[in-house]
């Protein structure tokens, strides 16, 4: 076995509400949605292929970006388009489909990817709406089908707070995973790397798969982030591209070629301190979380998140599971005042620093809320970001380069190697409450605009 890559920097935020390893078949949702904001880099005003009232099947195109018309975004369910929800400046937030419970699906090409050529494979992925599962570094956006990536990276574990256990999610899907890998290996001349957790024995789905190179990692979050793994295996260089795919999504890719349909079924972990019974649910991508939350959430003003507490997106309690998410988190909102909160000993507060006495209780699990916990300030403390970013990157200097819009400096400081999720902990620990992830995305957008 390969040697273990030990990562020391990072932070495990210990929250209450870890999912029990029980799979519940979720009641089918009435409504589903595909959300353009799930795809950074996509035009905020994608071209719609449907109008309200259109009948769609699973795999029918819903919209596309007019600059990249080949990449289709398709419906995860059969039914009728009932709403196109827009935000400020008419940007499209959600395309909502009411399910007809018939599960009719558009059929795509079926077959052994090893016998198909690259063009056929790419076409099949594009048409079915499966292509967007493949993303690229730099900039963590949907991959360009015309590129030839240096390698493809897959993280075999999720280290984020309360994250689902990928070994558990993928259990029993070994065959589809292998097919998915076969598909991906037709897309790159390079290797396919999988980073696995060295703490546990490597799951069958990874150890028994052919055509991949395994790398063992051990360490706190964000060790499970694919960006961190790339940085330790073979960092992204200027001018080259690597692709990344979530391990769960490799199965969707595999099933497309096994069955000839877009299979949006997925296991989702319902987590967080405000969930009565945190467990795994079998549901579909884009499904409304309403049936999952029914009678299963504690009273009170809650924050519903598709994804984890660090990088997830805020949804309503009837909102939809994001395209890339396998986790829904419910935590309390923190919209109350706290008397002299900054001065209390703080046994119930969690901090990456040791300024609260809670650091004496390393195994305690916390109920954390959404309060910003202080006012926004200029950068003052230093060395905080570096402690939670296990990459060969100077985070503060990179952020400052983005703030002053210095393209060359951003490039020199490694903007090609990072994604928002890698910096999410920097945002969490920031004493000055800086919006690190959005600064980073602004940097990406600026670079994309400059590079054309």
């Amino acid at each position: 076995m390969p040697k273990v890559i030990r990562i020391k920097k990072g932070l495990d935020i210990k929250l209450k509400g870890k999912p029990e390893r029980i799979i519940i078949q979720a009641e089918p949702s009435e409504f589903y949605a595909v959300k353009p904001p799930d795809f950074p880099g996509l035009s905020p005003l994608p071209k719609l292929s449907v109008i309200i009232g259109s009948e769609v099947k699973t795999g029918s195109p819903l919209f596309y970006d007019k600059n990249k018309p080949d990449i289709l975004f398709t419906s995860p369910v059969s039914g009728k388009v009932v709403a196109v929800n827009r935000g400020e400046r008419r940007r499209i937030l959600e395309v909502v489909i009411e399910s007809d419970n018939k599960n009719e699906a558009v059929t795509f090409q079926k077959g052994d990817p090893k016998t198909m050529n690259r063009e056929e494979i790419v076409n099949n992925l594009l048409k079915s709406g499966v292509w967007p599962f493949i993303r690229q570094r730099p900039f963590h956006i949907i991959a360009d089908p015309n590129d030839d990536p240096r390698a493809i990276f897959i993280s075999g574990f999720d280290s984020a707070p309360l994250a689902p256990d990928l070994d558990f999610l993928l259990n029993g899907e070994e065959a589809s995973f292998q097919t998915g890998i076969d598909v991906l290996s037709q897309l790159t001349a390079g290797k396919i790397h999988i980073g696995v957790n060295a703490v546990f024995p490597t799951a069958k789905v990874f150890s028994k798969t052919d055509g991949v190179e395994l790398h063992k990692f051990r360490g706190p979050h964000p060790t499970g982030n694919v960006g961190v793994q790339i940085n330790h295996i073979d960092p992204v260089k200027k001018g080259e591209k690597v692709w990344t795919v979530n391990a769960q999504d490799v199965i969707v890719i595999g099933k497309l070629f096994e069955k000839g349909v877009f299979n949006p079924t997925r296991l989702v972990a319902l987590t967080g301190s405000e969930v009565k019974n945190p467990r795994y649910y079998r549901t579909k991508l884009g499904a409304s979380v309403k049936p999952l939350l029914k009678d299963n959430v504690k009273e009170g003003n809650n924050r519903y998140i598709s994804g984890n507490v660090l990088t997830g997106s805020k949804i309503s309690k009837e909102g939809y599971i994001g395209f890339y998410d396998s986790q829904v988190t419910v935590i309390p909102e923190g919209d109350s005042y706290e008397f002299l909160g900054w001065a209390l000993p703080g046994l119930k507060k969690f901090s990456g620093s040791r300024t609260f006495f809670s650091f004496l209780l390393p195994n305690k699990k916390y109920t954390l809320h959404t309060n910003l916990q202080g006012g926004r300030r200029a950068f003052v403390l230093t060395g905080q970001y570096e402690k939670v970013l296990p990459m060969d990157i100077y985070p503060l200097q990179l952020l400052k380069a983005i703030l002053v819009e210095d393209i060359d400096l951003m490039e020199n400081l490694g903007i090609y190697e990072v994604a928002e999720e890698d910096f999410a902990l920097c945002e969490y620990v920031c004493t000055s409450k800086t919006e690190v992830q959005s600064i980073l995305r602004n940097g990406f957008e600026l670079m994309l605009k400059e590079l054309g």
Partner: protein
């Protein structure tokens, strides 16, 4: 239980009161101009109810107020000892026996006005500037305002403290854009201003002990000279014992004399992770190395004193723990911190021994390194950039 309920009620009615007067300070209210001031007091009493809107949904409990109060807490032992020592030195100078408490009270009454002046002047300016800029008041001065009284001689006239504080806040900090943007450490800027603007007051042997300047009732032969002044003058027979220098029962600036009290602060800063142990450690190392070099090539008796004596004399310990570690003015990269700290210590001892006009080199060394910190960071970051460029070429 009852008391807890009472506390809850007091808190609730206080919140009610704040909510009641809040509209006056909001946009359109009649006191809207004082919004920043109101916000500062409100957020002091209550952590605001603001929730995360984008990015990470949860945030670390540590905020600037907590971070700054940790530094202030770390400096408290030095202050308390300094107050006692002020009284102790005074009674020593007039040949009186006094209890610990009597000494402390004398010092307390002497030092408290300096703290009040420093805070009132500094925070007054900070509030005014925040008001003009429409910003929230930054907590940075809570630390600077606490450190200024610790680095001045006890008999400094209060108006000088006021002028120096105003200078350091306006010229040292606000013109650069406020806390987080300044190049020089504000507390040291105030100290340097005093030294260069009022050299007659700020040097010599009589300013360090309360009452010595006016000279009334001083016992014969009492000298208020600091160990450094004695060493610089070659009066080695007048040097206090090592134990006295470590304990701090010697003349000097209010908070700088006791190495023990400062070390308690260092433990707090390092344990909480707020102060950089790298800077403290490397500055100590830098001082020792320079001291040893002097020992090796000694041509006068000041160069001959044991290298580690430099660490317990003058403001070295205080500078290393509280001044050099200021995150805004120190090097910001982790590698840079090693270099920055080492050079600060190295230069401090160099200036101290070589420059006869001003034996306290720590202040100047740290200010000089503040200026060079961005350059050090530049080269550290440049190394990372070069590595990346090399990788891209292969």
């Amino acid at each position: 239980m009852n008391q807890e309920a009472d506390n809850q009620n007091i808190m609730k009615s206080l919140r009610k009161f704040v909510d009641k007067i809040k509209p006056h300070f909001s946009k359109g209210g009649k006191l809207a101009k004082l919004h920043s001031t109101f916000e500062a007091f409100e957020s002091f009493l209550f952590v605001p109810n603001r929730v995360t809107t984008k990015g990470a949904h949860i945030r670390d409990a540590l905020d600037m107020k907590r971070a700054m109060s940790v530094v202030v807490a770390a400096a408290v032992p030095a202050l308390l000892f300094g107050m006692w020592n002020t009284g102790y030195q005074y009674n020593l100078s007039i040949g009186m026996e006094a209890t610990i408490w009597e000494n402390f009270v004398i010092g307390f009454l002497k030092v408290l006005p300096i703290i009040v002046v420093s805070y009132v002047v500094g925070l007054g300016i900070e509030f005014a500037v925040a008001q003009i800029r429409g910003h929230e008041v930054n907590e940075g001065f809570l630390v600077s305002g606490f450190l200024i009284p610790l680095v001045v001689p006890v008999d400094v006239p209060l108006w000088m403290v006021a002028v120096a504080t105003a200078f350091s806040v306006i010229i040292g900090k606000e013109v650069f854009g406020g806390t987080g943007m300044n190049i020089l450490n504000p507390a040291l800027t105030a100290r340097a201003f005093l030294f260069f603007a009022y050299p007659a007051w700020m040097s010599g042997d009589t300013v360090w002990i309360h009452g010595l300047k006016s000279g009334e009732g001083i016992i014969d032969g009492f000298s208020g000279a600091t160990p450094l002044a004695n060493a610089a003058a070659g009066l080695f027979e007048n040097l206090p014992s090592t134990w006295e220098m470590v304990l701090g029962t010697i003349p000097g600036s209010v908070g700088e004399t006791s190495v023990i009290a400062i070390l308690i602060g260092a433990v707090i800063l390092v344990a909480t992770g707020i102060g950089s142990w790298k800077i403290m450690f490397s500055m100590t190392a830098g001082g020792l190395v320079m001291g040893l070099l002097f020992n090796a090539f000694a041509v006068n008796s000041f160069m001959e004193i044991p290298a580690w004596h430099h660490l317990i004399m003058g403001g070295f310990a205080f500078g290393a723990v509280f001044m050099a570690t200021d995150p805004v003015t120190a090097a910001q990269t982790e590698h840079g911190k090693w270099i920055y700290g080492f050079l600060a210590g190295f230069l401090a001892v160099l200036i101290r021994v070589i420059n006869p006009a001003y034996p306290e080199g720590v202040m100047l060394a740290i200010l000089l390194m503040n200026v060079f910190a961005p350059l050090i960071d530049h080269y550290v970051v440049e190394a990372n950039i070069r590595k990346r460029v090399r990788r891209a070429k292969n």
